[in-house]
């Protein structure tokens, strides 16, 4: 006897018997399309499909790409909110397509899907991530110590000191926060929330000795002071990081020079 096969649900896009509580629905996805090889203009295109509302928006995008239009282009990898590939603007809000269930975004109306804002669109939902990663690299996102003698064992850190920067270690660099920030939309020179989050992760790490340098970088005219505290970033973060709070802590550290 073969291994029991358990998952037939999305095999042929047909509803699975015995799951009357998950009726398939017809949903419309209104997707922002752009392909410079075809046209200089971006357009909206509607796709209709049968889908279980408990599935992810990413599943819907795959169904469209695999069954309807192979040219639809988006990034994705892990499909469960860890790799940060598929941040996009869904019904006007930045989310990960793989962490957003269709039932949670009102499938009664057309669901709009657009690329994240503030970064150049390269094709459909794919944007140029390079400026985003450049801002990350600019805050020296790595542990800096001045040890002359490296310890033979691990550096000690209390659980409390470890907890101090726990929240900002969760960042997956998906850019949902930075590309939700109105300041970033208007001025691409602004470091943006993600870079500040990653600076915070080291500034408040008791093992690190370069907080002053990072704070000086963020004291720049394009640094933390540009933040207008709109909380878009905190709302957008798929990892639940309190981004605005982290930025506020960096601002406070700049004033008090305590961290």
């Amino acid at each position: 006897m073969a291994t029991p096969t358990l998952d037939k649900a999305d095999a042929a896009g047909t509803p699975e018997p015995g799951f009357a509580d998950s009726p398939y629905i017809t949903a419309t996805f209104r997707i922002r399309r752009f392909n410079s090889e075809v046209s200089a203009e971006a357009t909206w295109e509607d796709f209709q499909l049968e889908i279980d509302p408990k599935e992810r928006v990413l599943d819907a995008l795959h169904k469209i790409k695999w069954d309807q239009d192979g040219t639809l282009t988006f990034r994705r990898s892990c499909a469960h909110g860890i790799c940060g590939s598929d941040a996009m603007r869904i019904n006007g809000r930045n989310r990960l397509a793989c962490k957003t269930l269709i039932k949670d975004i009102n499938p009664e109306k057309p669901i709009t899907v657009e690329p994240i804002k503030g970064l150049t669109v390269l094709k459909d939902l794919v944007v140029d991530m390079e400026p985003f990663f450049q801002a990350f690299r600019d805050v020296m996102p790595f542990l800096i110590t001045k040890d002359t003698n490296e310890p033979t064992r691990e550096r000690l850190q209390t659980a409390e000191d470890r907890e101090r920067f726990d929240d900002t270690t969760k960042c997956i660099l998906c850019a949902a926060c930075t590309s939700s920030c109105p300041v970033f939309w208007n001025d691409g020179q602004y470091f943006g929330p993600a870079a500040i989050v990653n600076a915070h992760r080291f500034i408040f790490d008791s093992r690190d000795e370069a907080a002053e340098q990072r704070l000086e970088i963020l004291n720049d005219r394009d640094g933390v002071w540009r933040c207008r505290t709109t909380f878009n970033c905190t709302d957008a973060c798929p990892r639940g990081i309190e981004v605005t709070k982290a930025i506020a802590e960096v601002k406070k550290a700049l004033i008090t020079r305590r961290f």
């Binding site: 291994t3 909110g81 790799c83 691990e154």
Partner: protein, 584 residues
Amino acid sequence: MKIHKYDTVIVGAGGAGMRAAIESTKRSRTAVLTKLYPTRSHTGAAQGGMAAALANVEEDNWEWHTFDTVKGGDYLVDQDAAEILAKEAIDSVLDLEKMGLPFNRTPDGTIDQRRFGGHSRNHGEAPVRRSCYAADRTGHMILQTLYQNCVKEGVEFFNEFYVLDQLITEVDGVKRSAGVVAYELATGEIHVFQAKAVIYASGGCGKFFKVTSNAHTLTGDGQAAVYRRGLPLEDMEFFQFHPTGIWRMGILLTEGARGEGGILRNKDGERFMEKYAPVMKDLASRDVVSRSIYTEIREGRGCGPEGDHVYLDLTHLPPEQLDAKLPDITEFARTYLGIEPYTDPIPIQPTAHYAMGGIPTNVEGEVLADNTTVVPGLYAAGEVACVSVHGANRLGTNSLLDINVFGRRAGIAAAEYSQGADFVELPENPAELVVSQVEQLRSSTGTERVAVLRRELQETMDANVMVFRTEQTIKTAVEKLAELRERYKNVSIQDKGKRFNTDLLEAIELGNLLDLAEVMAVSALARKESRGGHYREDYPNRDDVNFMRHTMAYREVGDDGTESIRLDYKPVVQTRYQPMERKY
């Protein structure tokens, strides 16, 4: 076509690739080619921890760790390699801490450790706390820390470059690595990277299964590239099915959940693992637990209206403990199942998780052309490789360890090699194969669709070569795979463009999966025994007389162009431990 020249080229930017890059960049001019962005790699999805006998919380030593690794791998492990893995584990964890990795801490401020499947005190006496961890996001922290240190070292990345071919030039009768050919996603341009040394660190191939914890992008591109060039693949029949994937979705729920005290239960609420593994119980090795789960399901004790899953029960653990130690997996249960793990058990089923087999290497990461001959200038590390430290079944927390120990070793060895070697001349028309493959797919008017073939592939593999296998089911798979490979020749794509053509890349990835699935099935058919992750119902016992040996699969092309797979075997390296019956 563009030609680049680097001393060392690394293919893949997950844990193994970036750990190698940190070493290699210090010693040689290095380029890292990744089909994603480094931080998208699937190392980031690993959860539970990284094993090392630090003995921070209780007595432990690397010899016990070696024994557990060998036993966990059902004695197919090369014991010299396992010893290196366990010994170097300690410095490997300490290195990561010094690079900044935020491990959970003990009250003394040292790195905290927890229990994990198959890791025991004194050769199987009781579970031991050996897994160094950062909540249930250890892989995420490793990936981020390694990327941070790559930024610090100025590692040069080529992001969204798909390596599609391995270049080999024969010099004085010896096959040598000359470089790789890559496809740039953004532009569709083909790039040839001439390199003195190439390291494959491109990860696994789990996407040939349907219910899998693997990312969409884990399509065995590295294995397929070297296999097509006549190099062998080792032990491909051994694939790990992780016991606790989210029911029907396959998303991983860490073994750390059971390490923290979580319990598997059937529909009667029974803690069934007590029957199958009286000492280690829920923390027996993964192959044992996955088979036990399916035995419960087959015997009618599965949960739900279809009786097709069991429960992972965390409800007896304090919510504070779940929040502190298992925040991500509890959130997965809430997000994807709408279940509150504080109060309700989580429906789970085994999920295809990890390839024990891969590109054969020695302990320096050098790739083997046969049982003994190395390919000068060619290296592999991590899931793409088979050293073999995992044998027939990998222990949890040994993969994050593997990528760090052997990623580092391969990085050093490759860079030192490239410092003392000359470039090997590129073959004539180095990009020929890739150009014709890409052109063929772009111009094809065939009627087969990638998504349809992939679905059939995944369903075939789930039904026939998963946790339980028989001669009949494997033969069914082999026949179906031959049919799919034939139909693949008639596949066409809709996107004919140059820019970000993911339609094209999915078609190429499917070709890789089909090649590797066939190697897996053919290797499994020939192994008429049960060992670790390879369980044959028609041969339920381990057979050390006939099968204490590694499978080596070679692609052969006949004079008339027909392809076939030739199987050979390689002895297992045994040092300290004589094979014993495996009991947990």
